[in-house]
Symmetry: C2
Subunit: 182 residues, 2 copies
């Protein structure tokens, strides 16, 4: 091993005390545990129109999606969804409830999609968007959507239109300040 450039985690082997193979660095033994990642996003509306972003990055550059992205450390799922709307579309929203939960094992992702109301019809492309727009239902670029779940979440929005979303139980109010950013 001496004289070889270190390679990083690149060998699948079962670590001691574990029962599944994990990606391990052959040089230093570091184990890169792979866990599913959480994607947070929101279907944001203003009157009867929906906020969509044309992706400036791969995968699916040039195709349309509501604002969404990977949840970061040190934020709640709600904070993450609001952050993504700002980062990708420079829009401000209030979340109204959880619209959908999609497990997508084949790519190791769990998507949490919120329903959100824009607080003003203001938006512009963030660095990861080529273009941002408000589309009425019939004007949505249905043939140029980035991923299958974009259609699902828009259709789930329609299915729940004017209905209250279930308010799922969360961290009790009196605990929230103790579990947030330090």
């Amino acid at each position: 091993m001496l004289g070889k450039k270190p390679t990083g985690p690149s060998v699948h082997q079962v670590p001691e005390g574990d029962d599944k193979p994990r990606l391990t660095c052959p040089d230093c033994g570091y184990v890169a545990y792979e866990n599913p990642r959480v994607v947070v996003g929101a279907i944001c509306s203003w009157e009867d129109r929906f906020l969509l972003c044309k992706r400036a990055i791969e995968p699916r550059r040039g195709f349309w999606t509501p604002p969404a992205g990977f949840l970061e450390m040190n934020e709640t799922t709600e904070e993450g969804a609001i952050r993504e709307v700002w980062e990708e579309a420079r829009a401000e929203v209030e979340l109204d409830g959880l619209l959908a939960l999609y497990s997508i094992p084949v790519i190791g992702q769990v998507h949490l999609v919120y329903r959100a109301r824009m607080t003003a019809p203001r938006f512009e492309p963030g660095p990861e968007s080529l273009e941002v727009g408000l589309f009425s239902w019939n004007d949505i670029p249905w043939n140029d959507l980035a991923f299958p779940n974009v259609r699902w979440s828009l259709e789930h929005w329609q299915a729940m239109k004017d209905k209250p979303l279930c308010q799922i139980q969360g961290v009790p109010e009196d605990w929230r300040h103790r579990l947030g950013k330090e």
Copy 2:
């Protein structure tokens, strides 16, 4: 760097094209992206009793918790919850809906807690449990619970007792076989 034992990801620096510091290996440049992890679990009941496990592992060895653990790649959140119940308590359950979603940013976790019915009053400790039991509400070891969210989820179970849980939208039926295990 030559002659030094490789150290694995140990330096916080902002990778090219990113805007946040990430844990990077000073030897090979590998970036260990840290994202919040998903914990899946279930409040499982048989008649009016609840399934709890006495933890055989740290943290909080010797304290009680419902079956729960990290979601693995290649499983849905529902499959993960059912797997954890089997691994920790050797019990079989049917899930009945999503009871709670707890974001716990301070430890980078998102907990999804399902409500589940045991299909038989059969259980025994799996390798990560010292003991497993079915407890009536008043017999729950309230002073020896492992984590604050154990109490929250039991109380949320009581709050929703005999009520239908909201059926959150998921992956459409005709897509599920295309997104699961390959």
